[in-house]
Every structure is written in C-alpha cells, then in structure tokens.
C-alpha cells in the first residue's frame, strides 16, 4: 500500500486499525539466492537496493531480534560526512546525497532534516586540523565552512563561547548539509520497501551455524531449520564476530558499550547538531523538544547493552560546558548499544576469506550515517561480483597488509576507543 493523503483519510474511517504490517509475515523457504544476516538499516538497505537496482528479490533478511532493534535504533540519528580521508569521506558523502531523496524513494517519511552539523574546535591547532579537513572535503565536492567563535555564537544561540570556559570555543567546522534522520523510520522504510518488492524478512530467528563445503557456504542453520543459499552477507554489527567465528574467521574488532540519552522536552532552542570536541559530547533537539545527547564509549569490552554512570556524567559535564542552560534539565530516557570497533576505527566491508560469504561490520559508532551508501554498494557487490570502488579501502585484509584507514592520523592503535 502506498502511503498518501488518500490512504491516511481512508484508514482514519476505520480508526487506523487496518494498516498493513510494515514487513509481511513469511514462512521461510528452503532455499534463497542471497541470505542477509542482520535486519538493521544496513542489511535492509542492501535488500532494498538488491531489489531496486538489480531486480534480485530471492533474498532473505534474517535477524535474532526485531527490525532495527540493534544499533540502527540505538544511535543519535546524526548524518554528516566531515571526514579527512577520501575512503571515509566519499562513502559517507554518497550516503548524504542518497538521504536527500530517500523519503520519496521509499514512500516513507524519514524526517531527514539537514539542519547543519557544527564540530567545535577548542584550540588553534584543532582549528587548523579542521581547516585541512574542510579543504579535503571541498576537493571532494562537499559544502563546508569554517566558522569563527563569533559566527558560532550567531549560528547557535545558547552556546557558551566565552573565554571563561574550561575549553573555550575557538571556531568550528560547519557542514550545512549534515543533520538528523529518524533512525527507526530508516529501518522501517527500507524493510517495507524490500518486503513489498518480494524480499522475505524473518525476525526473532537467530542463526545458529553455517553449513560449508570446500570454503563455500551452502546454507545456514537457524532455530527454525536449515535454509540453503548461494551467497551470505553478515551485516550484524557486534554479533558479526560471533557469526564469523562459526566459519573460523576471526575479526579484528573490540565490542564496546556506547550510551545515549534524551532530556525532558523543552521549547525549540537548538536548530543544529553540535559536537563538543574536548572529550566528546554531541547534541541535537528532536521535533518533540527533547535534547538528544551522546558521548564517547564506556571504554571497556561489554555485550551488556547497559552502561556506567561515570560516562553519563562525563558526557553531561561536557554538554553543560557547551550549553550551560541544560544543567537544570532532567534526563528522561537512556539507552546503550554495543559498538563493534576495529583497530583503525573504520568498517570492514567486502569479501571474506570464505568464497561466497560477504562482510559488513565494524561500523562502531559511525554506521548509521552511511546506511544507504553501504546498502547501495553492498547490493552492487552481491549482484555483480564487482567490488565497487567506494568499498575497496574497507577490505578485511588491510589489517594484515597495513593499509589502514587512519582518519585521526594516529597510526594503528589497539584500543582505539
């Protein structure tokens, strides 16, 4: 069913009780061309673009939980492409272009809001680094500006740019096309589009193993029986490591907890996304008025999806440095996700040592913004067997060869988080 003013009116007569499910309930077949493990944004976007760009719909997307119940629904919904290195920048900038037309394409309101992303610099050295990053982005065709601290104050009412701050604001990198996208809608929109095209989506069904022969996967075992396939994509964020270990592949990732939280709703005060860089605290305001905040990881390995008070305090201390007015707000909700962080902090996307097994993982806390671009490129790889240029730098073997994607310019560093 196409969502429209007419369908809204029609369903209002029956009290909105008869809207069809976003993804059709299915009985899994015994065989599929492609199986995607992980029904998050990335996996579902891959299924959507397989159907849309390559007319491949003999696809199963399978998840141990529910659609978008993992990191897709646990981030702070920020999209941006302010990266120094071409590998990181190009993929995320392609995603930024795709976000713009995606609501129309999916017939699902993703509430894409390019309200501007502001990355604060707290020293002259940091501002110079931002300038070189901005120039690299301009070479890649992005729209980006460097703001003085006065321009920051003009653009962001309520921010403290005084010299009294512990880490005064010297300026900022400003990407006007950055902003927020409603994360749940992204998962639902891609799921609905893929399901309508004929892709099967199976929720609450964990994958328990793979059947392989001569370095070739012939099928998967699940709690609902065995399913054969030609190709498998593991796109399961922190669970990817465990899945890959079932075919004896070790992945170079640490699994770390990251937290985010929202304040009680207040009147509109913040019309941009702002990131505090002395430490880390990023903040934006939802349409409901809540301030959404996140910070750095908890710093130690965890699969618990619940975090420590100390890192909440830490993030909020930085957020109140930026915006002193939030000190009297109360936190309403809080959640955690498990970030899968490789040693260079960049994702692992592409082929694996097993012939027909493909990987998309290691996105850490940077995966949401890349969702449509990864889906687009991964669909191309699965359909054509040609590795798209955008994905080439993200190969698994870069850790062995030393060709790391080192955005921070700090070299290979265990415990990057």
């Amino acid at each position: 069913m196409k969502y429209s003013g007419f369908s809204l009116l029609k369903n209002s007569f029956s009290g909105h009780k008869h809207w069809p499910n976003i993804a059709a309930d299915i009985e899994p077949k015994s065989r599929y061309d492609i199986i995607i493990v992980g029904a998050g944004g990335h996996g579902l976007a891959t299924a959507h673009y397989l159907a849309k760009n390559h007319q491949i719909t003999d696809v199963l997307v399978i998840d141990s939980g529910w659609i978008g119940g993992g990191n897709t629904g646990r981030n702070t919904t920020i999209v941006r492409s302010d990266y120094l290195l071409n590998a990181s920048f190009k993929l995320k900038d392609f995603a930024l272009q795709l976000w713009q037309a995606l609501s129309q394409e999916l017939n699902f309101n993703l509430m894409y809001s390019p309200r501007g992303y502001i990355d604060l610099a707290h020293s002259d050295g940091e501002l110079e680094h931002f300038l070189s990053r901005a120039n690299a982005m301009r070479l890649g065709g992005a729209n980006v500006e460097i703001l003085s601290s006065q321009q920051v104050a003009d653009r962001v009412p309520g921010i403290d740019v005084s010299d009294n701050a512990r880490f005064p604001v010297c300026g900022a990198l400003y990407q006007p096309d950055g902003g927020v996208v409603r994360h749940d809608a992204v998962a639902w929109g891609f799921a609905r589009s893929a399901s309508t095209a004929g892709v099967h989506i199976l929720q609450n069904c964990p994958v328990t193993g793979f059947t392989a022969k001569d370095n070739h996967i012939t099928g998967i075992s699940t709690t609902r029986g065995n399913i054969e396939c030609n190709k498998v994509l593991i796109s399961a964020a922190s669970a990817s490591s465990k899945l890959a270990s079932m075919v004896d592949i070790k992945l170079p990732m640490d699994l770390i907890n990251v937290q985010a939280f929202v304040s009680e709703p207040v009147k509109p005060i913040l019309d941009s996304v702002v990131n505090y860089n002395a430490g880390l605290a990023y903040i934006s305001q939802t349409d409901k008025g809540e301030l959404v905040m996140g910070g750095a990881t908890d710093g130690y390995e965890s699969l618990a999806r619940r975090g420590s008070f100390s890192s909440i305090e830490d993030t909020l201390a930085r957020a109140t440095q930026m915006f002193p007015f939030i000190s009297r707000l109360r936190l309403m909700r809080h959640w955690s996700g498990t970030a899968d962080i490789p040693m260079d902090g960049n994702a692992i996307v592409g082929r694996s040592p097993v012939e027909n097994l493909y990987l998309n993982c290691g996105w850490g806390y940077a995966g949401f913004k890349a969702t449509p671009a990864v889906g687009w490129s991964m669909a191309e790889l699965l359909a054509t067997e040609q590795l798209p240029q955008l994905l080439q730098p993200f190969a698994l073997d870069r850790f062995k060869s030393g060709a790391l994607i080192d955005d921070a310019g700090i070299g290979p560093y265990p415990w990057l988080h």
């Binding site: 270990s245 070790k250 992945l251 130690y300 699969l303 618990a304 040693m343 850790f399 062995k400």
Partner: protein, 77 residues
C-alpha cells in the same frame, strides 16, 4: 557501574581504574608478521567471559588480571 575487585584494595568503583584490554599472550619479537597480526588485531569474540587487565590508577597503582562476564559484568576469579 563496575565494581572492580582490586587484589590490594578490594572492590572499588570503575572510575578509579584504567582499562588495559584483553590479557593477551604476546609472541616473541622475532615471530612472523602473521603471528603478530593474529595477536594484535584479531579478537575471539565468541566467548561470554574474557580475561582482561585493569590498572588501579587512583588507588594502589597496581596492574592486575581478572575474568569478567561480558553480558552480566560479573567478575570471576
């Protein structure tokens, strides 16, 4: 919130500690690149409990090794 069992100071709040990561057995310096790759980069994330190092920075300044459950955050020793 972790309460980390320091062998000298007993259970203390996690903010007193620095994380030292997995307790890894490093190979000899002249071992092959591939050995070092396996140890430095690759992680076995298939187990629920891991051995790890903590540093009691704001306490006795001692490094020690513990076993922790990644799902429940319980320490076993």
């Amino acid at each position: 919130m972790l309460l980390i069992p320091c062998p000298n100071c007993g259970e203390r709040d996690e903010i007193e500690f620095d994380y030292g990561g997995r307790a890894i057995q490093y190979p000899a310096l002249n071992n092959s690149m591939s050995d070092w790759h396996m140890v430095l980069h690759q992680r076995d994330n298939s187990t629920e409990t891991i051995e790890e190092f903590w540093y009691h920075q704001s306490g006795c300044e001692c490094w020690f090794k513990v076993t922790r459950n990644l799902n429940t955050h319980e320490f076993e020793s």
